[in-house]
């Protein structure tokens, strides 16, 4: 039985909205287990979101339209990104409209507006957070693009669906040096972009160290809920992007019902593993000094470039 690709697209977006908070909850849960604490329920992120949605929005008097517009834009962009990445099947309605370079720029738009909104109110923290976020972004983006190019060379296309299809049919793709380097670079960049521990601490509100939290400090109510939800989606999106590019086995290449069901099972297994790996990284490492981030992301750029070069040199 074949499912129409519009239905798959809808399922994928619904899955994105539901699975992103679950994934964040899972990461938190495993982290608590690792550190010997009692874990909150897997549904805790949903409860947090519901609480925020039911609260009133408190706006600063001098907040402009940018400040009010940003949460909706960030949320919308995340949903759109989720519609492009092949999660269950490579046959998606929107996959032809946007390739992986557009995906990178979608994340860039969201970040650009968040940085503007951080400066909009005019508090010191917002400006500091925006400045730091843009510093990190300017270092992470070249590396991200290079990593993406290295994978595109192997996948023979910049369209995500094509890349996933070629790589999953390619057999022992993980033995290819370019993929190994690109994966290393991608992990480092994903940690920086999603604000995880060696670069930023998602749980902190300490003035000196926060980066992402400083930008969104002025948000409240449903605005904050949308931004937090988008943040969870970003973590989920980077995870499924990594899965689609490096471990695509299980993602269905046609729209058969059994294949899609299998893809769903594989997805949850992979998400579970990635969550545990993330927790291992986060508990094993300490947060870096902010000026060490240049070296961290510089090495990500180095890995990505080596990946691209080893495609030409060694393959």
């Amino acid at each position: 039985m074949t499912i129409p690709s519009s239905l798959i697209e809808t399922t994928q977006v619904a899955l994105l909205l539901a699975a992103a908070p679950l994934f964040t909850g899972w990461v938190k849960m495993v982290k608590c287990w690792m550190q010997g604490r009692t874990a909150p329920s897997l549904l805790q992120p949903f409860r947090d979101l519901a609480k925020l949605f039911s609260k009133d929005v408190v706006l600063a008097e001098n907040a402009s339209w940018i400040f009010r517009f940003t949460p909706y834009l960030v949320f919308g962009v995340s949903v759109l990104a989720g519609a492009i990445i092949p999660v269950l099947s490579t046959d998606l309605l929107l996959s032809a409209t946007a390739d992986v370079i557009v995906l990178v720029s979608l994340f860039a738009i969201a970040r650009f507006f968040t940085a503007l909104a951080g400066m909009d109110i005019g508090t010191a923290f917002g400006g500091m957070g925006s400045s730091r976020e843009m510093t990190i972004a300017s270092l992470a983006e070249p590396g991200m693009l290079m990593a993406v190019f290295a994978v595109s060379l192997v996948g023979k296309s910049t369209s995500l669906s094509q890349m996933t299809a070629v790589i999953s049919q390619g057999g022992h793709a993980m033995l290819r040096p370019s993929m190994v380097f690109a994966l290393l670079a991608f992990i480092l960049i994903a940690l920086a972009e999603t604000g995880r521990i060696p670069v930023d601490n998602p749980a902190t509100h300490l003035e000196l160290t926060m980066i992402h939290e400083a930008m969104i400090l002025e948000y409240s109510g449903r605005h904050l809920a949308l931004i937090e939800w988008a943040g969870m989606m970003k973590l989920y999106l980077f995870t499924v992007l990594g899965i689609a590019a490096f471990f695509p086995w299980g993602i269905s290449l046609n729209n058969d019902l059994p294949a899609i069901a299998g893809a769903l099972v594989f997805l949850f297994l992979k998400l579970g593993f990635v969550g545990m790996a993330l927790v291992l990284i986060e508990t094993g490492l300490a947060k870096m000094r902010i000026f060490r981030i240049t070296e961290f992301l510089g090495s990500a750029f180095l890995f990505a470039t080596l990946g691209m070069m080893s495609f030409f040199m060694l393959e």
Partner: protein
């Protein structure tokens, strides 16, 4: 193991050797430098054994064992004893900062790829694609000798250069004649002992292994 799979495995090893070469250039801590150097030697030994197996050049097994014995176990051990005795713990400082060094390293890799293009065209061996990596490893060792101020780090750079040479010989011609390789291995051992003596002299004279201190040796004018 069929030749294509072996060639692919060898490519992966070459990529990892290149990675360790970069890690040597950017790593600050002395102990970590020694570990990475030992890993590079280990990867080189495995790669040599694979090339020996694929090319049917059985003297490469001996070369592989020599690499394993000298560069993975003996030299790191000697250097470890040395830095332990001289109580070197502080981080190594370099002339250029780390991101710039990485960029220079990337340029060197592209340059070596360009430089080895004619050899790659002429060669018929399965390992011909790794010649560029071998030259890059050599150049990165050279870069390390230039950018580091610390004598022990410079020696590790020198040994990494030697690794690059051995790798180049293996991938370009299935290795040098056994006599030459034995000679090189002996040379390395002697060199390590001489370095050790030098280190002791430098550190007792200047109370530091920073080679910038040697500028004090010049005459007053």
């Amino acid at each position: 193991m069929n030749p294509t799979a072996a060639a692919q495995l060898n490519s992966l090893l070459a990529a990892l050797i290149l990675l360790t070469a970069f890690a040597l250039v950017v790593q600050r801590r002395m102990n970590a430098l020694l570990h990475i150097f030992a890993w590079q030697g280990f990867l080189l030994a495995v790669s040599t054994a694979i090339v020996g197996f694929v090319g049917g050049a059985h003297h490469l097994y001996i070369s592989s064992f020599l690499t394993l014995g000298i560069k993975v176990i003996l030299l790191p051990y000697i250097l470890h004893l040395l830095i332990h005795k001289l109580k070197i713990r502080k981080e190594v400082d370099s002339v250029i900062n780390v991101p710039t060094t990485m960029m220079i390293g990337i340029i060197l890799v592209i340059y070596s790829y360009h430089l080895t293009a004619p050899i790659r065209e002429l060669s018929t061996l399965v390992t011909r694609s790794t010649i560029a990596v071998a030259l890059a490893t050599f150049m990165l060792g050279f870069l390390m000798m230039i950018t580091r101020k610390h004598a022990v780090a410079q020696i590790i750079g020198f040994l990494a250069m030697e690794n690059g040479l051995l790798f180049a010989a293996t991938s370009a011609t299935y290795g040098m004649p056994l006599v030459v390789e034995l000679g090189v291995a002996l040379d390395l051992l002697i060199a390590a002992f001489i370095f050790g003596m030098f280190f002791f002299h430098i550190s007792t004279t200047f109370d530091s292994l920073d080679v910038d201190q040697m500028a004090r040796l010049k005459e007053e004018d």
